[in-house]
Point group: D3
Chain length 242, copies 6
């Protein structure tokens, strides 16, 4: 128990309200607006009938991701990366993470020689943009796969199982699930966890922002993450049923 | 009269349904989602308490704009400019146009030494993104100015009058107002017009995509644009009253 | 009538002395130095027996343009774009305009799968560099086409008709033809007009630098431009006869 | 027990031979060649009497890192990043990781307004370059700090405690410590762990390269990492005594 | 004596016709078109009342150079460096050479804290562009210095003595002065020599394009260069008297 | 005779201790650490079974070089070129020089359609890095060629003869061989000479850093260089025998 009060009297192990809106834009094969509280990320899945050079002739497909943030998605405006002429290190890290996470649940052979390009663009940021992006990108990818199946381009789904992600962290000594921005800024430890529907880890990235963290703290964070991801996977399934 | 039928049986001199949603995101001083039919552009206005070098010490402020398009805002995915490492010529042209159009209705002295940075990001494209951007950016700028006035940072509005923009064009011989994408692709002449609330021109940019156009055709296009912009300015005013 | 006096007692509707020197350099298939008063632009046309990717296999050719300014073509030295590592927005706008203007008078099918690359480099700037560039580039393109015909590579000219361009503007309330630099700096409205030999518009780009302009002012400017372009087209024809 | 045989009959929980050579080059305030088996990384620490903009006037210093790989440090030559004109995403991820890891054991206030710039350049790569880099960079940083103390520029060491890093992974079902290249290529899970001398975590980055990993596997990997890092920290201390 | 015949029956030790046209463009403080036969280089000298960072507060000025080639200055069109986004190695080498050569005859203290920026742009290339650039840049610099003296900004000329440059080479076994393009392409050895009015060397850059060259060949080339540069320096003086 | 005393009482015509260590790293086909006193350069030769576009289908191979300096190879840290996003002019000049020097002793026909890529990376700099690079790169190239012969990929060595390089200069009036950094900084004339085993010149690059140099001084420098290079070529041969 702690004196720390979260926005909206949220419990330490409680997700922010999650909203998954499919078909958010009309051109992409999959298009999902995912909201973790005030964090809003537009995730689109585009199917392209070609693969990058390292996959040509392999009979396998490719899944990759790009990540961006609108300049005023944040409290104070950040430079537009296109204008500055390069993506910064954080952006590159995040888009590599999203790509790896989604590839972990794809059978690239079943996809055939085509690419699913995921674009995750943050419309509004309030902490947890990368985990929202992974969780939403999976739904967009599922919609794109469904279209490929419906069009007869593939006969078996290459999407093996769900994947979702959540952030956890220790703020003023308390392990918290799904950090919003003010919590993220003040936290000592920040961990992003990506898990499959089977409850196995795809990625665990824990970082001590302030003091280093103990094994016991890490165990507490992993337990929180496991709970949150199970809930997110249920929400993904529900969104797909709607 | 023409055999050409527009989507939704729209008349040649009719705007698409226009929707202006203020306060679309929460961080920016002004944040407007503007929709011209299926075209959706998020326009944010950010106030920064500094000016670029050429205005330092001048006692005047600055108004500038950047424009971007989410990679899958379009029918087929286009490269992310941040990943490619530069903004293309079209992007630069458009953001220069937006900046000039807004500066035309600003009194930079009354703004004081601060910058209003307008970001126009296309969420979904179906023709007319630059004209929607200008029209929406003006509303976002107005909201930002209202905040500056409320905060006592300025005592008189530097926004002299409204500005709005629309595209017109000749498709299969017929002059049309507010081209959507399929019309834009097939048109012979494409013209973007930016006008003030007083009915004066800020910009006229007419381009013959196919055959060159006559003075008579130009006059017809200008008349259509004048009608459309008057309607847009009324819609801006209504949005600000809501 | 106005108190404003132009350099050399030039009339409001008078072009500066125009000089078109063909074969200015020896390597290019077309090479023209065009002078509008003190503005001097070297326009070369290079024929390349290949087309860009979007035209490969189409049976059609391509016409494109690049524009540059020597660093000390201007009053004070401007940065060399090659050293800075990118072309600025103005440069890109201008080279896109030149390319569109020339393509408007080319039949790309008759050109065959080859490219005419126009390079317009400003040796000395005194206003109107983009309009001089278009006017001169057409002559250079004509010389390159003549060589292709003479070499038997094509049997019919793909150059359908002439194209030329001029700037007009309102300075201290007076509409003026062919602005030189000091007039351009002080003008309220600046308009660049590109017309074909048939007197039709290819491009009209009017910009209010200061106060927005009325329809009546626009009509006056268009009339001036029409007069100037007719004279330029006569001068192009004369240069080709020499 | 496993059928998998490691190079040189190395045990699953055994580090490769580690060699730490101080004063490897003569100009840097700290210069360490660290070898993990065939992996060789040159780590230099440079002291600069200035800080980046976000620290100016704060009274605090800064610690940052850059990472590079000589083009032929690897089996087949990779492009030189300086020639290609940018650092790739992997390079940026690694140098951000090194920087965070070192900052975690620095008291930036005690450092004063100066920067310790760590450069980690891979001379020869055989797996584990980022963990060798962190482990070696700490020794180089310690040497630089010792010089600052000796010069009287600081009176108390800003280096609070040691930090070291190791990779662990699951290869053919067996958890292994300190993966060499052939193991890294074939592994299902790859984890990099950074710990302090006190045995607390600074970073845990686990990635499923093939199938997702279970909590039990993660526990096994963390145990291996803890053992390895304790040994590395002892080796750092010994190197500093020599 | 040799069987090799030069264009226009030029002797082995004969310069091409050299033409130096001062005041070629109107804005620059010095503006010279220099022609070595068909090679034409525009050299401008711009005076800027500031110095680069490494000279600030030193009481000394700076002299620097940039070099460029119009895309169609050459037989076949070369890419525009501004469009490609960087200057190639050859361009950088040449502009560094021009800068060093001019600085060798400047007393930077007498120049005061200002910069003379030399821009050498090749309008037409036929071999020897860098040597023409150095020779012409010196005249442009002299004109700029004369203006500074006339304006009373400096009281004593910082230009100590003349400098000029010429290429020499061995073609089919014969040492030749001032190579034109076809000779340059076929030569075994290519040497660029920069000398002062006093007959001393500022730069000697000899390169074996084919077989390595002997000391005897080098002596022959140096003798030719000495003769040619003496003539060029006389031509510079004559141009300044005109 | 002079009052100037060199480090370690070195004679004016004496090389620094030269050390050539072959097989310095394990992956490259040739890998040589060459030391000229405190200057240490790692030279690797990589064989790639492809050629650049201008050699494709020619039956000839290619030899090229890249050069880099670790950020803290120097007294004060220099920016990492990969981070800055481009190689500076000096780097490009040097890598072009190394490439030309090595190609001068290669028969590209005998090499066949493959590339030898030389990477010269300065680990520690104390003057003469480019000359050490050329001298060491030749040994690395020789080792790579020996592997190609042993593998039966070529049957005759394409390496015609040795090549080596040395710097010479005039310091306080005295011609010196093999300048170290403090001598290089203070010298009036700096010359880099590249010669073949046959004693012929491949490159001579002399630069007056301060006052211009006379023919007599040049002759003295060339004599010193000839002596030094003969010694270096003997050391290369000895290293290959070891």
């Amino acid at each position: 128990m702690t004196a720390f009060t979260r926005t909206g009297a949220r419990a330490a192990d409680q997700l922010r309200p999650v909203r998954i809106t499919r078909h958010y834009t009309m051109h992409a094969e999959g298009s999902v607006l995912i909201e973790f509280g005030n964090t809003k990320v537009l995730c689109t899945a585009s199917v392209e009938e070609r693969v990058p050079p390292h996959k040509r002739g392999s009979g396998e497909g490719w899944v990759t991701a790009e990540y961006g943030m609108l300049p005023r998605a944040t409290h104070s405006r950040s430079d537009r990366e296109a204008a500055r002429g390069k993506q910064n290190g954080r952006t590159q890290e995040i888009q590599r993470l999203i790509g790896r996470s989604l590839r972990a649940v794809f059978d690239l052979k079943l996809l055939g020689e085509r690419t699913i390009q995921l674009d995750c663009d943050v419309i509004q940021a309030d902490g947890g943009t990368r985990t929202a992006a992974i969780t939403g990108a999976w739904v967009a990818a599922q919609d794109a796969v469904t279209k490929l199946l419906a069009a007869g381009k593939i006969t078996q789904s290459p999407l093996i199982q769900p994947v979702a992600a959540i952030s956890v962290g220790i703020v003023e000594g308390t392990p918290l699930l799904d950090l919003e921005y003010v919590e993220d800024v003040g936290c000592d430890t920040d961990m992003n966890v990506v898990m499959t529907g089977a409850g196995h880890y795809v990625e665990v990235q824990g970082t001590a922002e302030g003091v280093a963290f103990t094994r016991k703290e890490m165990d507490a964070l992993l337990a929180l993450a496991e709970k949150g991801i199970a809930e997110l996977i249920a929400l993904q399934q529900q969104a797909l049923r709607d």
